[in-house]
Each structure stands twice: as structure tokens, then as C-alpha cells.
Amino acid sequence: MKSEIRTIAMTVNGEQVSVDVEVRALLSDVLRHDLRLTGTHVGCEHGVCGACTILVDGESARSCLILAVQADGSTIETVESLGSVSSLSALQEAFRENHGLQCGFCTSGILMSLCAAERHGEDLEETLGEVLGGHICRCTGYQNIRAAIEAHWAKSVTQ
């Protein structure tokens, strides 16, 4: 049996895109394979690790647990919408300064969750507990990620 194809339109990182997708395709795979936005990483593909976290209409969500067809008409933000290598965003800079990453596999998902938390005005405690709790990092032992979040929240987020 062949899978049905549908054309979907989304706003991805501020740009209007239109793409043909199999109805069974995951949003994570369409972002990576079709749109070539490989900053979104894929670890477990059942919602547990958090590597694939992106923003859908301003809320953090697992892109491995959304069918791409479901994103038709949505506004998507991925890690590519943050700073660039030559000009990091304030949050990315806090991660760099505090050595908040090693291999970087988990980092893009964590950054996107933190963007949502910052926009929704979550306090530091909520962010360190609940928000970071939705991510698994195999390298850092979390201490430096927490230090980066604390530094960023102290500097940039008005409490």
C-alpha cells in the first residue's frame, strides 16, 4: 500500500514554506530531511529524550510525536531561528560561557524548551525543575546546563 501525499504550508523560522509530505511522515523527519533543518535532533522517537523539541505556535512540543500533516497552517520555530555561530543569542551565549554542552546532541531541544519558558515568564525554579526535567543529557551531568540557565535567568529574564 502506498502512503497518501499531501501538500502542507507552514511558517518555519519566519519563512513561508510549502512541502509535499507522506501523511505518515513525522514533523521531525520533514524538518530534517525535506527542509534540511538538521539542528533539530532525533534520539528516541517516542517522546522521552527531548532532543527533537521545537516550538509549535509558541509552545514547546516533541516534533517526533507530531505528524507533519498536523502542522499544516502552524508556525514552527527550530534552533536555527536562534543566533548564528558568529552571533549567538543571549541564551546560547550563556550555554557557551558556562560550558552547558559537550556533544550538543541534547542542546537544540533544551534551548527551544527554554525559549518557550522565557516567553511564558516561567520562574527559575520551574525552569530548572519541570522544563529541564523534560530533557535527557548523556554528557554534562546537568550541572553546567543548570548554571547556564541560572546565569541567563539572572541576566536577561526579568522576574
Binding site: V23, A61, L65, L67, G133, G134
Partner: protein, 287 residues
């Protein structure tokens, strides 16, 4: 490609969705938040011929705080529910339970209808629905019916919903002067609980008029602990020995099983502790 091939339907009205369910029934899966169904598709543990995505059905994402109950439409996301000040004002234990479901990144998609329909015995909400003596609304092309929680949950992942029915709303009664507390123990915040308890009491001064205690992750479906409830009726909640007796009655009446997360004795201990803690809070005593 992770999920198996299926035909995708995204009905734009309730009638259309119910018509599709009538036609495809057991060969289809309803897609709501997708936070349980899509993992099952990705792991190919589910292979439906049709996926009926109800996210575009209008009118199912309602929150109503009515005189005697909180009534929530099936498509309402948990993230929205946990932030709702009107629910927190009348049913704070329900808001606490919402915040114990998974992580914020999962709750942004999870719907109340999907969570309850999934009937995972480790899920918080089915147990909270049991403590509130709540009910669900099931709708098919031939009409709607309300089913109490005890007639809805059958066993693990199994309910009395017919394959042509959609769960359309969930109702938590808030009358009768009941106050509730919810608490769970999980390995990490956001994990499924090893055990959870929702306790409600109705007081006349400090005398217990009625009690409702449910346990989560203890049996193949949410259960009420009726021996502990009976032990509380008529007694003075401010008496610590009474609360202790109820927590012992709870531990004695449940039948948890050993599994990879812990032994039956360990779970019995957790439930006993949680009953004690929730009752202490209801009595206004710090645990």
C-alpha cells in the same frame, strides 16, 4: 519512515468524525494529542488502517466551570487546563494532578480525552476522576450517553467505549462540600507515578461525613479504597490516630503486583504514606 502506512482522515465537524468512526470502527485509531498513539505508531505496536485526526473538529476544546461540576471538552490540552485559574479556584487537586502528567513539552499536546480514553492504569487523571466520582460523555452518530468512571474503565488500555463512539467530554463533580488533595511518587518529576493517591473528604465541623479515596498505578484500572473510606466516616479528622488507621486500612485492602519498578510490599507502603499525607493536609496538619 517510522509509522506504518495508514489512511489519514481529518474531519472538520463532529458529524463527519462520527460518520468516519461508524464506517471504520475497529480498523481505525483516533488521533488526539498523539502523545501515546504516535509512540505506538513509531514502534509499530499499533497498525491501524485509518487514522482519524480529530484536532480540526470544532467545539471540543471547551472548559466550563459550572455550579456543580467542571466539564471539559475532550480536545482540551492539559497545558491549558493546568493554567486555568477558574479550575484551580474550585478544584485545586485537579490542577495539581494536571501538573503531574508528563513534562510541559508533552502536556502542550496531550488532551484530556486522549489521556482518559487511553486508560493507562498509571495515569493520574483516571484515578482523579474516580475520586471525584466523575463521568465521561461518549457520543456516536445515534446520540450521546454519560458513563460513570466505574463503568468506563475495564482493565489496562481497555474501556467500555464502543468503536463507533468518541469520548467528547469529561465531568468532575465539585458539589457536596468535598475538599481534595492529590499526591504521587515518581522516580523523577514527569515520570509515570509508582503510586498516586487522590483523597476527598466532606466535613461537618471536624467530623467526616463522607470520604473518597482512589489509588493510581496499583491495579489494572483506577480503584477506590472503600475500606479506608469506611474507616473515616463519622470520625474526627483532627485525630492523628484516625488518619493513621485509614492509611493502614488502605494498605491492607489493595492488591498491588510486583513489577520491575518495585515489589507489591513497596507499593503498599507508598500508598499508605500517600493516604497519610493527603489526609494530614486535608486535616490542616503538616505531614
Amino acid at each position: 519512515m517510522k509509522p506504518p502506512v495508514f489512511e489519514y482522515r481529518d474531519p472538520r465537524s463532529l458529524d463527519e468524525a462520527l460518520g468516519l468512526l461508524n464506517e471504520y470502527g475497529d480498523d481505525s485509531s483516533i488521533l488526539a494529542g498523539g502523545q501515546s498513539l504516535i509512540p505506538l505508531l513509531n514502534l509499530r505496536l499499533a497498525r491501524p488502517d485509518y487514522v482519524i485526526d480529530i484536532n480540526k473538529v470544532p467545539g471540543l476544546d471547551t472548559i466550563e466551570v459550572l455550579p456543580g461540576c467542571v466539564r471539559v471538552g475532550a480536545l482540551t490540552r492539559i497545558r491549558r487546563l493546568e493554567r486555568d485559574p477558574k479550575i484551580r479556584a474550585v478544584a485545586p487537586a485537579l490542577s495539581d494532578a494536571f501538573q503531574n502528567i508528563a513534562h510541559p513539552q508533552i502536556r502542550s499536546r496531550t488532551t484530556i480525552g486522549g489521556n482518559i480514553s487511553h486508560a493507562d492504569p498509571s495515569s493520574e487523571l483516571p484515578g482523579v476522576l474516580a475520586a471525584y466520582d466523575g463521568r465521561v460523555q461518549l457520543t456516536s452518530s445515534s446520540g450521546s450517553r454519560w458513563v460513570s468512571w466505574s463503568d468506563f474503565f475495564v482493565t489496562v488500555f481497555t474501556t467500555t467505549r464502543e468503536s463507533n463512539e468518541l469520548l467528547t467530554a469529561v465531568e468532575f463533580p465539585t458539589d457536596q462540600n468535598f475538599s481534595y488533595e492529590f499526591e504521587e511518587i515518581a522516580r523523577r518529576p514527569g515520570d509515570y507515578p509508582l503510586a498516586g493517591v487522590c483523597a476527598g473528604i466532606s466535613l461537618d465541623g471536624s467530623q467526616v461525613r463522607a470520604a473518597r479515596l482512589s489509588a493510581i498505578a496499583i491495579a489494572d484500572r483506577p480503584i477506590r479504597m472503600t475500606a479506608a473510606e469506611s474507616a473515616l466516616v463519622g470520625v474526627d479528622i483532627s485525630n492523628a490516630a484516625v488518619r493513621q488507621a485509614a492509611s493502614q486500612a488502605a494498605a491492607a485492602e489493595i492488591n498491588p503486583m510486583d513489577d520491575e519498578h518495585g515489589s507489591a510490599a513497596f507499593r503498599r507502603g507508598l500508598v499508605s504514606t500517600l493516604v497519610k499525607r493527603t489526609l494530614d493536609r486535608l486535616a490542616g496538619v503538616p505531614s
